[in-house]
Amino acid sequence: MITLRSLLVPHRIAMMAVFAALVLWCAYALRWDWIPKYAPLAAEGIWRTIWILAVTSVLGFLLAIPLGLAQAIGPWYLAAPARTFCTIIRGTPLLLQIWLLYYGLGSLFPQYPWIRESELWPYLRQAWPYAVLALTLSYAGYEGEVMRGAFAGVQRGQIEAAQAFGMPRFTMFRRIWLPQAIQNALPTLGGETILQLKATPLVATIAIVESYAVASRVRQDTFIVYEPLLLLAVVYMIIAGILAFGFRKLEQRVPVKGH
């Protein structure tokens, strides 16, 4: 836990001083007069960033588990499609995927009048279902690969112990295999989630305004280069900081000897 005492170490005080100086310099030397005008828009953008990130990473991870497992131990008829999916997702730019889903798949729907008249049309007409779908699939693709390695990395004896006691397959998976795999993959997963945070701006191509798009808008309206981006960086840093802290905590739940 972060306690006041642990912060009052000389080098930490020095680091905080440097940080404070940086903040002060930025506050005085740079232009911030645009903030009041854009504040409501920014708040909306940040909120959108957060929920897109949260929803797509959680859904994506749930999808990544079967993808990883199928590749690690599945029979070929499960492993092959899973591997193909991961390869294609990881192998093509996310922008292209969003674009194909929305402008490719999405623009097929209106051609069918019955879709246009259905209950679903108001949703299919929106952009966010496509954004959520694309980002979820993307996260699942990358994490499917990570989980494949993590599943394969669990020591054989751990699984054998579960089998020897007659644990049903699913229980063994849920209680032994999955927790150990996740434990080993946590540092990587934390990084990948931050990557996902930085992938969210791509949804701007399908007309969703999140925090990055707000910063871009400020830049274009005013031609101020650095300030909006710096503020955006601070927002990202706070989100990433919270993520890193959370993942750290998860990681530390099981103490590891030595390392």
């Binding site: 170490v9 192998g91 292209l96 690969e145 394969a152 990395g153 990948e192 710096l230 990202y236 030595g258």
Partner: protein, 241 residues
């Protein structure tokens, strides 16, 4: 269809050659950045695991800040503000303007970013090694560098490969960033071709196919390395049955 082939033909007026050149440039940058990132990552992971409190704090700031800040911000600041500052300093000392290579700056920035992710991936991988493996090396007096090379790296490899493979693929795509410093890599070439000809679909799909090819080839390479790294580990395939 004919039109598509014409658009993609390798010599002008087709854009195929431009795309391939862009791909080559992207790979060059990605390779440089990934390699640089691996070096930083290895150092960072070891520092985070075995370093003193000051080093650990500095590395924590590094991985959090660098991973969080959008690459565009980093490269803008590093390249434009950096060049500006250097030129101001040079001017004050009576030298002329210096040009910083945008490509070098790009590799540098991407490498530093990749390094932050690699740090975490490798730290996790090292942590996943059963401690006894490391202790055995220590007990026999292996010097740290040798231990790294002979025990730690081979033993952590199987845990690190999937994360590193992801990182490499991200590197090939993140080169898009270098468009900002005037470097023609695959994404910019694609956008130029698409916007100039209005054939968005054709060129985006073509670029997707090129990226996919890169992925398939690198997938092979990584699978090889992983197979090597997993030698001596009994498989799990049966364990699922």
């Amino acid at each position: 269809m004919e039109q598509v082939i014409e658009l993609l033909s390798l010599s002008p007026p087709g854009w195929g050659g431009n795309l391939l050149r862009g791909l080559l440039h992207s790979l060059e940058i990605a390779l440089g950045a990934f390699g640089f990132g691996l070096l930083i990552g290895l150092g960072g992971a070891i520092g985070k695991l075995y370093g003193g409190p000051i080093l650990r704090d500095i590395l924590a700031v590094y991985t959090t800040v660098v991973r969080a800040v959008p690459e565009l911000v980093l490269i803008l600041i590093l390249y434009y503000v950096g060049t500006d500052l250097i030129n101001k300093a040079a001017g004050a000392m009576g030298y002329g303007r210096v040009e910083i290579s945008g490509v070098a700056a790009g590799i540098w920035v991407l490498g530093v970013v990749q390094g932050a992710y690699a740090t975490e991936i490798l730290r996790g991988a090292i942590k996943a090694i059963p401690i006894g493996q490391i202790e055995a090396a220590r007990a026999f007096g292996m010097p740290p560098l040798k231990m790294l090379r002979r025990v730690t790296i081979p033993a952590m490899m199987s845990f690190a490969i999937p994360g590193l493979a992801n990182l490499w693929l991200i590197a090939t795509k993140d080169t898009a960033l270098l468009a900002v410093v005037g470097f023609n890599e695959l994404t910019l070439e694609t956008r130029q071709a698409a916007a100039s000809t209005r054939a968005y679909f054709t060129f985006f799909l073509a670029a997707g196919a090129l990226y996919l090819m890169v992925t398939l080839v690198s997938g092979r390479v990584f699978a090889r390395i992983e197979k090597w790294a997993r030698k001596g580990q009994p498989g799990h395939r049966r364990a699922g049955a």
